[in-house]
Symmetry: C2
Subunit: 419 residues, 2 copies
């Protein structure tokens, strides 16, 4: 079967001049790939009618689908709309449902509809309007010689909503793309290369309609299994069987299925086990607590934290013994152990965790270079500590340390033994 | 004078499939704009020789400069290099200085040079090699009929270093672009539209070779003044005179000149005044402390923090009175005032700041809807509080609250009276 090809055209000087990073295209690329449509080219052009027409002419020689974002809205004089009307030899006409949508948005904001915004409800007569429930610029769907052109606003949340609700399902139907199903498996604590080694035999044994993608990101590798076929429930079963095999192959490294963050998975574990948590942070400086409290509902298990940036605070607020600090230093197993145990007692929580290290760029020594970091986990059964060595910049050292602590909590709560 | 036009071509399926967001092009767009080169188009193409050639042919009809990233390195079989050699009718030849660079990188990593990596030192004979001090793939500079083609690796830090050290200065010289100088003025606490109102008359009075750009971002608006001409020191003087006028027009909102973050500016103020700081955080959950400690050297003024996520912790660790919590609730002026004053006493710092609010999505009430947030600043002269109302999602509410506290510290330390 021949692949259905798409091209994305983004319109706007602000992308070319670097004032905006084009995140829309990556999102669209991901979503189109998921339904079996292949993106052939992404083109960013200026706010100029000739340039837009040139890009459209060029795109339709290569692709079946041309998705256009930007160049809509009153500040851009709805440039794209006028160009498309001329390109498809049609004229603008008032589209009553769009006018009703725009009017409703202005009423909600408590403002009167301006003449400029009323203009936004005038659409090319030959297009099928694509409803925008989150903004004032409707989308437009054109068909020409079996090819589809869709114009959408550049505002990310408006474009995403239109794609999800209308454009992607319609493209799927129009081009009769095969059924495609994905399952995402989230791993942590294992580098991509070692993971690939462990999974090589299994991956090679996958039937050709099931594909594996490694999607590494800061702090973990997402595995995406994709099945292509005609029978959804059969694909579901096949994928689930493979995911079960994965679970047997790398049980210690999988922390969730689907789009779940590590702090969310840890939050779920704490909640389901009815446990509470406190943190004592030195080098992470509050970032660990921030990751934990970025999860809605985290107040159910997170009690609070002491950020002991100065040694004085480690002593006065966390009761770390002066002898410990003098003998072993702030960045030491002994200190981080006392920090975790004492914050647990102080906050009367089930679990206490702690961090102490040299985030950099200053503060390193031959003995303890930048990136030397101790972490600890304490609960009623005892305390476990871990020494980390990172060689990144300050912010990455902080980030990786927070992820290592979250993983240590996860390992402890699921009965995994530390390596 | 006719503008010099550039096009950027990025090569790689991983961008088209959405596995990578193309941040390189935005960075290049910003840097090219700064030296007076205008980006006309950005094109992302697949890992296919025909497609790359098509993009090159198309780009040279529009632009004077074609910058190519990606498609280099052993995993891509140096695709771009082979395509360019054929495109410019030349052959590959060992380039000894590049071989020395690659060998040195492998030695540093303690590994033997592979045959694959040795191949990377073979370059098209007609190109001028562009040295890559951070990686194994050298860049290539070609000239054809007055147009310049530069190929660079897609790894962001390698590309940026090559652009900064070699490509940008050479482009400036080759195309004899005019002298362009920028001054950046950082503002906080004033929305773009109100700022534009205040600056309208001044902006209209600017001579035509001085331009103002508003660059809004989360938490502030950067103003960039750009001067174009032939005499650098005269431009410098003219720009400085305009910046001085700006300082008179909006003294309360400017927190820094140049690329400085708000937390860095606050850190500088604390350091220069020899003051220390502690935070007491409820709704920000450690994020405020994280922003403060993300600055290298912040241990000079930051003592630590109590994150009192639970009311119990507010009482036990921050000595907030039970009556205060009962009468006014945790999200109240009285509570946040006690938090700031008590953390200051407890940590023996010059300044204590505090946050308490409803970050959402849960926890709101008709009385105190989501986004109701109190902040406080306490020093030896007394305590000031501020009520914030945000209507964003959880993470944005946390982010904006941290910025509001940083701004409150800045205002207090510079003697600005709160509105």
């Amino acid at each position: 079967m021949k692949a259905v090809l798409a091209e994305i055209i983004t319109i706007g000087d602000e992308i070319l001049f670097g004032q905006i990073v084009d995140t829309n295209s990556a999102w669209m690329g991901t979503e189109l790939t998921k339904i079996g449509i292949r993106v052939k080219q992404i083109t960013s052009v200026s706010d100029s009618p000739d340039h837009i027409v040139e890009a459209l002419d060029s795109a339709k020689t290569r692709a079946d689908i041309i998705l256009i974002t930007g160049g809509l809205g009153p500040t851009k004089d709805d440039l794209t709309k006028h160009v498309l009307a001329e390109y498809f030899h049609t004229t603008l006409k008032l589209h009553e449902p769009s006018l009703a949508d725009v009017t409703a948005i202005f009423e909600k904001r408590g403002r009167a509809l301006t003449a400029l915004n009323r203009q936004q409800a005038f659409l090319p007569e030959s297009c099928m309007p694509v409803r925008n429930v989150l903004g004032t610029a409707p989308g437009m769907w054109f068909e020409q010689e079996g090819k589809v052109f869709v114009s959408m606003p550049g505002v990310p949340f408006e474009m995403k909503r239109m794609m999800t609700d209308i454009v992607l399902p319609q493209l799927k139907a129009y081009f009769k793309t095969p059924e495609i199903i994905h399952k995402v498996v989230q791993t942590v604590g294992i580098p991509e290369s070692i993971l690939a080694d462990k999974l090589e035999d299994w991956e090679n044994s996958l039937p050709s309609h099931l594909k594996l993608a490694y999607l590494p990101h800061l702090g973990g590798v997402r595995l995406r299994l994709t099945g292509t076929g005609s029978n959804v429930s059969q694909l579901e079963q096949e994928l689930q069987a493979e995911v079960d095999k994965l679970q047997d192959l790398i049980p210690d490294y999988i922390f969730a299925y689907g789009e779940v963050k590590l702090e969310e998975a840890v939050g779920q574990l704490l909640k389901s086990q009815g446990l509470t948590l406190a943190t004592a942070e030195s080098c992470t400086g509050g970032y660990l607590a921030h990751r934990i409290t970025s999860v809605a509902g985290s107040s159910a298990y997170f009690q609070g934290s002491v950020i002991a940036y100065h040694n004085e605070v480690k002593t006065s607020e966390l009761n770390v013994r002066t002898e410990t600090l003098q003998q072993h230093g702030a960045v030491s197993e002994a200190t981080v152990r006392e920090m975790a145990e004492n914050v647990r007692q102080k906050f009367k929580t089930d679990i206490g965790v702690a961090t102490s290290g040299i985030a950099g760029p200053g503060g390193g020594s031959p003995d303890k270079p930048v990136g030397t970091i101790w972490i600890a986990y304490a609960d009623k059964n005892g305390t476990r500590t871990k020494l980390l060595h990172y060689n990144k910049d300050r912010l990455l050292n902080i980030e990786y340390t927070a992820l290592a602590v979250l993983n240590l909590i996860r390992q402890s709560l699921t009965g995994l033994v530390e390596e």
